[in-house]
Symmetry: C3
Subunit: 259 residues, 3 copies
């Protein structure tokens, strides 16, 4: 850090299992990737190339190489997995992962109806090849999954071989974990945490108010995902209690008595 | 494309009259223009330098040269045309277009009151010099134009020499074609399409929900405008049914029976 | 400017006391800073490194050098001052300012409770070392300060040595001067202006509608702050009456009779 401040919360450093941040790249140019690494490389644990943007992005191999040289793993969004599966091209998907040298993949069912045992089989199969992140929650705002069901789904997917499970929010932060207004379904999150270890979950939290909510509930080292590239530096200050929103949250209360 | 997916909708390629995308540059740096061309050059058919940003932008000639070398035509936003006209400087405007070597221009009346015959005369006059895009719809949220009137205005402007007509939405997507909430005035759009060929219209649709709506109604090769530079890659995935929003829209229904 | 338009409002040029724009950098890369200077250097009077982003930003000295070479002063957001003060590290803060060669600093109490005499002492002390901007208004949406109190606070802070006072709005534009909806508290602003000279105030106005409101009320040369980098070019057109929102505002009414 550039100067010293006392009384900051302890922040995990890379490589870390907790305090993990997944950054969403939905079409950055190669120079923008270089810039992202320059400004936020220390704070990014993994990058998702959002949904199927990797299909239309023209310099995919160069982009993957830049991230690789920076030691930042990359994976393709779960919607791409679903796009292959619904076309009965799962084997092609496995070859694509190999061809591009990917070491992580996401299994999700946000846009398709899939029997949960089938989903777990995909997780098991893919985890022989790569590290699997699996996503729970629908992209459909109408589908409300009750808390006990979220817990059951997460547990089975971890048992099937998922490294971490992701709580769905989309890029907009308005489905799954969130109400259509963007507000967190807080009872849902608290109930999940009674049963699933926090470090096994990545919470998609694209909006600042959502990031603040998770950091206040779980602490500076909560795992967060779907963070926009230009919100990486701001997020790091929120984790450290150095933005208005969490300013008082990590302070020793006695310190505040000086005024 | 970077890998093969079956059962995708057919997507027009450049040069194209349908499936046309107009990207809005409201002050990109020269490097950002280079980056935009690198990531999205194949998907951009024309660039608008938003409203009068070309007046204050410091490296205009360099910017125009970069777009030109990439084969992407550029035009100045209609508000600039109006700013010249309201000052009685239309001849100056024609000279400006020549001085900067522009081959397209927009004629609009979004911010001024103009007799429609006068507008059509401007279209006719300018179309001797450049390819004209004309815009229908007011930037004033209070002015509701009924559907039959939109159709009449569009038809007359095409007859006067406009290459394509643009349905107004502003950068924010909250006027003209849209309600102040951003919601599409769908009856209006459907009625227009009964009379004016879809390929003659560019629908301004800066917000994702609006893009999705038009793509579902008209198909992957609808003409869309006012797309932000960093939404070009996402838009391309929406056109192809490779983002959650249009995921099922172009799929053969039989394919989905596999689960 | 790139061409000539008659009948534009007079716009102050650098160095200027009025028509001053403070741009908010919340983590731009070095190249993005260079690009910002290229496109908007003439329009930026000062840059704020938002809140405590300077703490976590990895190339702070290089960034400060680039701004310095462009003749653009930089200061650290007021939340950083508060973070040092609440930790009883005010002397460390003064050393940090010296170590990085800063010539401006912000004194604020948006996140902490501070006796106003104490705040004025900080202003007085810091103004021996640097040029001080002081900020009035809370980041807490619940704290409504009545107009007479805003005036009293501003006057005392200017008397204590502040160069200019800043009206608080946050990055989001939803507290202080604004209602939670982002709407301007217009009676408040008008009352302040009866007592405090407009050129001594920087109004934080991150949203376009807010910028438009201030420009219509105070004119093209109002001082505005918390402007996002990619809104600098758009803002300049709004100041000049060259965007729809202020298109008619600075026009000689007689000119408009031509249609």
């Amino acid at each position: 850090m550039n100067y010293h401040l006392n009384n900051l919360p302890e922040r995990a450093v890379k490589p870390r299992e907790k305090g993990f941040t997944m950054c969403m790249d939905k079409g950055l140019s190669l120079r923008e990737v270089e810039d992202l690494i320059e400004t936020s490389g220390e704070y990014i644990d993994i990058v998702k190339l959002g949904w199927a943007t990797s299909f239309v992005y023209p310099k995919l191999e160069e982009k993957l190489r830049i991230y690789k040289e920076a030691g930042i793993p990359v994976y393709f969004g779960g919607t791409l997995f679903e796009a292959f599966v619904i076309r009965n091209q799962f084997d092609d998907y496995r070859k694509v992962l190999d061809r591009f040298g990917l070491e992580h993949a996401e299994v999700s069912d946000g846009s398709i109806e899939m029997n949960h045992d089938v989903k777990c089989e995909y997780i098991a199969k893919l985890s022989e090849q790569v590290t699997v992140l699996s996503e729970v929650g629908s992209k459909d705002a109408e589908k409300i999954i009750p808390p006990y069901k979220w817990i059951e789904l997460m547990r089975k997917e971890l048992d099937a071989g998922a490294w971490k499970v992701i709580g769905e929010a989309r890029e907009g932060g308005n489905v799954g974990l969130f109400r259509s207004s963007g507000e967190v379904r807080s009872g849902l999150v608290e109930e999940i945490l009674t049963e699933i270890p926090s470090e096994k979950i990545i919470w998609e939290a694209p909006q600042k108010a959502q990031q603040v909510w998770f950091i206040k509930l779980i602490g500076p080292n909560v795992n967060l995902g779907n963070i926009a590239p230009n919100e990486m530096i701001p997020l790091e200050t929120i984790r450290l209690g150095l933005r208005g929103d969490t300013f008082h949250h990590f302070l020793n209360k006695e310190r505040e008595s000086i005024f």
